[in-house]
């Protein structure tokens, strides 16, 4: 069924362990250590996917994370499925399945392939231009466009794996374990720097580790042999931690880097269970050494995307590292020496190399001689003008290049082959470098961007800074390390390095063909199907900025982020527009370098740890009573307590009636509580609240309203004077943390002279609020010795008492309009207190009520809830709470703003009550209010902020903010809804017990 293209046993592949896997439903075999790509190539499978726009057949292009074409879905339709995985990175294991993406019904016969024939109709910006009108049709177009596009399928089943985060601090972080990274890490660790070395591959050593070029020698050993000894020595060095299969995703400022460590993706299913799959490393390094290497460039020529066309360096790696031949008749196409090294290496292994096509002028070097000696024909000054073979390359046509490189001449030579290795030169991988905020410079000679101005304590070494030849790399590395690590010498100071001299490069960004550009398909971005034509079209249409051209043509916007093609795009723009590449700049390199799974990003913060909740000490009781809960801030608060299948409406009606007729009890532990002490505590409260505090007696409580400096209501609550210099402030549940922050800010920055100390005591106290006409009787049963008479313990006062030996603070304050007692005890006694109240209240039908009933009861009294009836644009005057704003105080936060012309406008939105003409109709909160129905467009006067059906009044009530509402008492307004219009009348916002008789009854 399949063919075997293994050529030679490789030390990196375990040929004793055969691994079976499925690709697109067919079973294949590979060996332990193979990537999916190397195993497929060994079976002579090149066609692995379809391109995004034209659905052209595509094959494996590279051997690493820069792969644009060979992206697959791993384990489709299982709970471990993952889309957009690069076949060149994923390691095979027994039982693995993978499938092609972006093709239907199959990669061999893909309906979308019709787009290839329609391609003259699908230029850059086609979708923008075609589907612009009529605008309302976009939703219909979008369905079909989205359906025909798309890469892999996101998982729909629950992820069974565990993910983790780890913080690491180190002295030196080395990114990339090629020869430069290994020597850098070794020398750092040996000199007492705590060092971390990371590499995305599963083996250390980069491309040097499988180097077999006889001409590249260190201390008279082949470079790979020399490096292996160095790696062996790493194991015995203290201070050095090494991680493979670990890809650095992001490099932020201040040497903060994120890396993904892959722990189980290469293991069989049974070995993945209950292990951490991937770990996000959050690394803070004092110094960073980037040794990220370089990526080989393809070349841009007509039909340069067929399966079988690969990077020259990838072909070399597949043969030298994995022992796999990428074809039986291979041609190299090059503008530099790299392809010659690949050709020689392949020839040594008995793989047939047909020819080398070189765009440069002939020169006589050692490398050239060795290629000719191997019987390989070299075509100097030739270029590939076309290729053929729909699902697999079978032929290339070459022609002689003109002197200026812009056209071709002579006869077309046709060479049959099944694999073409392209070598367009090397691009330093500067992605992480620029992410850190460091700046690049363009080397016009080498045609590469290189590190220039570092933004933090870092260096770039090896080929990622533009050093490509071994002697140059090691010489510069030695000097840089000594300086960067502040050491006198390195341990490779005295090595001797020998390598070939390089022939000068010749760079042509867009190679000519015998056909007009319009008739060719020279791909720049393989994944997004952007061609050189598209880029030229964008320039003709007036795009100039590289960022705009990128977005218009989608060049570099695939999952590979244009690792291969971006330089060609820049080069073609520069050549076409007649500017220098250095002046053009680059597009922004954004993290992550390679895609991260969501699992890695969220780590352990899943399930119940996704968003943590705060629960009150009485929480277990509420749960036992089957209360429904509501989220308030971070708190879980009891919302209502349904009995016998009651709806929320039924439960709330019952609870609120009971609270007014006999007794109710509310868990008020979540209210923010701030303990305020110090000799200037009274003065401090005077400055932060709108009303006066100096004359509040010890043991008394007062309601306070807090503004922002802009005069808008910020928070409210009752504060109790516990002693001469001691207050207990309560805040809203959601506002507690912000109020404390704001008070601390003023104390530390504006009024440091005040002697005031603030302590949050929200968590230290549990609070049960007893309310209703029988609340006093219940409290009397619990604390018989406490005198509860109105004379001794009037409304708005405080007593400290004991229940048994438990000290409690009791405030007689009310948010419901009924007599109420808020009993505070140390948090650990909260549940005991609550149960005691329930027990004592049984004979009075004590009814626990939740936040919904609390809201209803306070709305009956017209009490506001900050954040519901206010929204940061309401002053106390707007709320008709003028009574709480002191006229006598010289200053308080927000006072001056209440006299601004805007806050004094009469037509501001003001808080009013609304009564529906039909008392059974309950308004929707948020509904808009208008005064006339015929006008178009109609003026919105405001909206409903709180609305309930009141069981105690037996009618619907609502609070609303209405423009100029203060002067509208009794006026008829309208609330237009989708199906009807509701007639309402403006009323006093206090609906129940307007004279507060019940507080003292």
């Amino acid at each position: 069924m399949s063919e075997n293209l293994r050529v030679k046993s490789s030390q990196y592949i375990d040929e004793t362990t055969r691994v079976s896997f499925k690709f697109n439903g067919t079973t294949y075999y590979g060996f332990k250590g193979d990537t999916l790509a190397s195993a497929l190539l060994a079976n002579n499978v090149h066609l692995v996917g379809r391109s995004f726009k034209y659905h052209r057949p595509r094959g494996i292009m590279t051997s690493g994370s820069e792969e644009p074409n060979a992206i697959v879905q791993i384990n489709p339709n299982t709970n471990r499925t993952e889309p957009n995985v690069r076949a060149t990175e994923v390691e095979i294991y027994e039982g693995m399945e993978a499938s092609s993406q972006n093709c239907w019904p199959s990669v061999n016969f893909d309906i979308g392939g019709i787009n290839n024939f329609l391609s003259p109709l699908l230029p850059a910006g086609f979708y923008y231009k075609t589907f612009m009108w009529p605008a309302s049709f976009w939703e219909k177009y979008e369905y079909f466009i989205r359906h025909s596009a798309g890469l892999g399928k996101s998982p729909t089943l629950k992820d069974p794996d565990i993910y983790d985060h780890r913080n690491i601090h180190c002295d030196v972080l080395v990114v990339g374990a090629g020869i430069s990274g290994i020597l850098a890490a070794k020398n750092a660790a040996k000199n007492n720097y705590k060092t971390l070395l990371l590499d995305e591959k599963n083996e250390l050593g980069g491309s040097t580790i499988y180097e077999n070029n006889e001409s590249n020698k260190i201390d008279n050993k082949i470079s790979s042999e020399w490096l292996k000894k160095e790696i062996e020595e790493l194991k015995n060095i203290k201070n050095l931690e090494m991680k493979t299969r670990t890809s650095v995703a992001a490099y932020h400022q201040y040497n903060y880097l994120l890396a993904r460590e892959n722990l189980t993706d290469h293991l069989e299913k049974k070995d993945k269970i209950n292990k951490i799959r991937q770990r996000l490393l959050k690394i803070r390094a004092k110094k960073v050494i980037l040794a990220t290497g370089a990526l080989e460039r393809p070349m841009v020529f007509n039909n340069n995307d067929r399966p079988g066309i690969m990077l020259s360096s990838a072909i070399k790696k597949y043969s030298d590292f994995y022992g796999v031949a990428c074809g039986r008749k291979i041609i190299f196409f090059t503008n530099n020496d790299s392809a010659y090294e690949s050709a020689i290496s392949l020839n040594d292994k008995g793989i047939k190399v047909e020819a080398v096509v070189d765009i440069r002028k002939q020169s006589e070097t050692n490398l050239e001689k060795r290629v000719i000696d191997a019987g390989i024909k070299i075509y100097w000054e030739h270029t590939v003008v076309d290729t053929s073979g729909y699902k697999r390359l079978n032929n290339v046509s070459i022609m002689k290049l003109s002197n200026d490189g812009t056209s071709v001449t002579g006869n077309k030579i046709s060479i049959s082959c099944d694999c073409l290795g392209v070598a367009g030169g090397w691009t330093p991988a500067v992605h992480l470098y620029t992410q850190s905020g460091s700046k690049l410079a363009f080397d016009e000679d080498k045609k590469i961007f290189i590190p220039n101005k570092n933004n933090s304590d870092q260096i770039s070494v090896g080929s990622c800074c533009g050093d490509f030849k071994l002697d140059e790399i090691l010489k510069n590395l030695n000097e840089k390390l000594k300086d960067f690590l502040d050491i006198n010498k390195t341990d490779f100071e005295n090595i001797t390095v020998k390598n070939d001299e390089e022939i000068s490069k010749r760079n042509i960004w867009l190679l000519p063909s015998d056909k007009a550009l319009g008739k060719t398909k020279p791909f720049v971005d393989y994944q997004n199907d952007a061609t050189a034509k598209d880029i030229k079209l964008a320039l003709r249409e007036g795009f100039r900025s590289i960022e705009h051209v990128k977005r218009y043509t989608t060049t570099g916007m695939g999952t590979d982020q244009g690792k291969l093609g971006n330089m060609h795009a820049l080069g073609i723009i520069a050549d076409t527009a007649g500017v220098k590449m250095g002046e053009l700049g680059t597009t922004t390199f954004r993290p992550p370098y390679t895609p991260l799974t969501f699992g890695t990003i969220v780590g352990r913060n899943v399930g119940k740890f996704f968003d943590i909740f705060r629960r009150t000490p009485m929480n277990d009781w509420h749960v036992e009573q089957k209360a429904e809960f509501e989220n308030v801030g971070q708190w879980k608060r009891a919302w209502y307590y349904p009995i016998d299948g009651e709806t929320m409406h039924q439960a709330v009606q019952r609870e609120s009636k009971a609270a007014r007729e006999s007794s109710g009890i509310l868990d008020a532990s979540t209210l923010g509580k701030i303990d305020i002490q110090g000799s200037d505590a009274s003065e401090f409260l005077n400055r932060v609240y709108t009303n006066a505090w100096s004359k509040l007696g010890i043991g008394k409580c007062r309601y306070g309203l807090m503004l922002n400096e802009d005069g808008m209501v910020y928070d409210d609550g009752v504060t109790t004077r516990l002693g001469e210099n001691h207050y207990l402030m309560t805040t809203t549940t959601g506002g507690a943390a912000n109020v404390l922050g704001k008070l601390e800010d003023y104390l530390q920055t504006e009024w440091p002279e005040l002697d005031v100390y603030l302590t949050s005591v929200t968590d230290q106290f549990a609070t049960a609020s007893l309310c209703g006409p029988n609340s006093k009787k219940i409290l009397k049963k619990i604390i018989p010795d406490l005198d509860l008479s109105d004379e001794n313990f009037p409304h708005m006062s405080f007593k400290e008492a004991k229940i048994g030996s438990i000290v409690c603070r009791i405030m007689r304050i009310s948010f419901t309009g009924e007599q109420s007692f808020e009993i505070n005890v140390q948090a650990s006694y909260g549940k005991a207190l609550w149960e005691k109240c329930i027990e004592a209240g049984k004979e009075f039908n004590i009814t626990p009520y939740g936040t919904e009933t609390m809201h209803l009861l306070r709305a009956e009294k017209g009490f506001i809830i900050v954040g519901q009836d206010t929204d940061g644009t309401m002053t106390p005057i707007d709320l008709q709470m003028d009574w709480i704003v002191s006229k006598k105080k010289y200053d308080f936060i927000g006072k001056r703003s209440l006299n601004r012309s805007d806050t004094m406008r009469e037509d501001r939105k003001q808080l009013v009550g609304l009564l529906t003409d039909d008392p059974k109709v309950v308004l929707e909160e948020g509904a808009q209010i208008v005064s006339e129905l015929k006008k178009n467009p109609v003026e919105m006067l405001g909206h409903v902020t709180s609305s309930y059906f009141s069981p105690n009044l037996n009618k619907s009530i609502a609070l609303a903010v209405v423009r100029g509402g203060k002067d509208m008492m009794g006026k008829k307004l309208f609330i237009p809804m989708e199906d009807k219009t509701i007639n309402v009348t403006v009323s006093n916002p206090v609906f129940f017990d307007q004279t507060n008789e019940r507080l003292n009854a």
Binding site: Y256, R284, T749
Partner: protein, 91 residues
């Protein structure tokens, strides 16, 4: 993410801190004496400089102290950190 040298706790990650806007804007001692324009200047107008900026920061998940920072917003270099009430050091 920055590393911030809290004057009370030492070097900590930025995630422990809260930014508090432009520094050295003192709340007027006598707000009622100010015109609407003068009050609005204090209330609303803040600089947003590309370059060296004086800022307030709070060690919210640490000692909760406020302090001042001089930061170059173009490259996020922290040039100096000093306590509330202190004069900015020359940079």
């Amino acid at each position: 993410m920055f590393v911030i040298n809290c004057p009370y706790c030492g070097e900590r990650d930025q995630q422990e801190f809260k930014a508090g806007g432009e520094a050295h804007i003192e709340r007027p001692k006598q707000p009622t004496e100010l015109s609407d324009d003068e009050w609005a200047e204090y209330l609303f107008m803040r600089k947003n400089i590309k370059g060296v900026q004086y800022e307030r920061w709070n060690h919210a998940h640490g000692c909760r102290k406020w302090f001042n920072m001089i930061r170059d917003t173009s490259n996020d270099e922290i040039k100096a950190i000093y306590k509330m009430g202190e004069k900015p050091p020359s940079i």
